[in-house]
């Protein structure tokens, strides 16, 4: 794809995203009904959960790309793995912060070491470590291989995050979509927010991937000159 059509696609994605965000805010704050027990505070859910799902998707992309690095030994996959890990960390930081803000009035504490919260924090820290490791390995080929292995191992925590509230007793709310806890009138708002954050994930992945490709081009250029 040429650079021109790439930037056109980015513009289209940006416009879709801008309208999508407005629609998501409208659905979450105006269209969705007020929840009976939590009141308006429950509206955090419309962003907290879709961002968490986008974060998990991002880590899954990192896992798949890391596997491809080991199979194909191609830098393209390494760039994708890095982009996915970084965006996953950003999304999970938001998830931990918004979850904590929601927890204070509901559980009366900012944080508790429940299985879901602990596993989420560990997952976020593992990928933060993944990003740090990249800075300490000079050789790009070795860096790609070491980080691919680390990314695959880090992803082992993802099923724990996902299933923790199903496997163990947890203070964290149970999965509402599966247990039917989300009323049909709340579902449209949730699905709009979910779709918007998936588009946002694609948009950010493209931008971060492009940045890494440029950095790679710069490194190659510097090597040629030096």
């Amino acid at each position: 794809m040429s650079e021109r059509s790439q930037s056109r696609l980015d513009t289209v994605l940006g416009v879709v995203l801008a309208f999508g965000m407005v629609a998501a805010l409208y659905m979450a704050f105006i269209e969705a009904p007020r929840e009976k027990t939590m009141g308006d505070l429950q509206r955090i859910f419309y962003f907290h959960v879709p961002i968490a799902i986008a974060g998990m998707t991002s880590f899954a992309v990192n896992f798949a790309a890391s596997l491809m690095v080991l199979i194909r030994k191609n830098r393209w996959w390494d760039h994708l793995a890095l982009a996915a890990a970084e965006i996953g960390v950003v999304f999970f930081v938001i998830v931990l912060v918004t979850g904590s803000i929601w927890a204070k009035p509901e559980w009366l504490v900012w944080w508790t070491w429940s299985p879901r919260l602990t596993a989420s924090l560990i997952l976020c820290l593992l990928y933060a470590a993944y990003l740090l490791i990249r800075n300490y390995i000079e050789d790009p080929e070795r860096r790609a291989l070491v980080c691919a292995v680390f990314g695959i191992i880090a992803f082992l925590d993802a099923p724990l995050v996902w299933f923790s509230i199903r496997w163990w007793r947890d203070i964290h709310p149970s999965p509402m979509l599966e247990t039917g806890g989300l009323s049909p009138s709340m579902r449209p708002a949730f699905y709009v927010c979910l779709a918007v954050f998936q588009v946002f994930l694609v948009y950010m992945l493209r931008r971060r991937f492009f940045l890494e490709s440029m950095r790679d081009e710069l490194e190659t250029f510097e090597r040629q000159i030096g």
């Binding site: 009141g39 962003f47 950003v90 938001i94 912060v97 918004t98 009035p105 940045l211 950095r215 710069l218």
Partner: protein
Amino acid sequence: MDKMHYLFAAFLAIWIILSIYLFSLHSREKKIRKEIERLKSSRQSAVGNRQ
């Protein structure tokens, strides 16, 4: 603190974190683009001097 304040704080946190990240992406992109341009022009001038 009223529950609405927590809701406001949560949404503020989302937009602040996302804005910081998007801004950092943009500034890193700009910096690399500038560096590539600088290297390209210095290489062109070096080739010109040799000729």
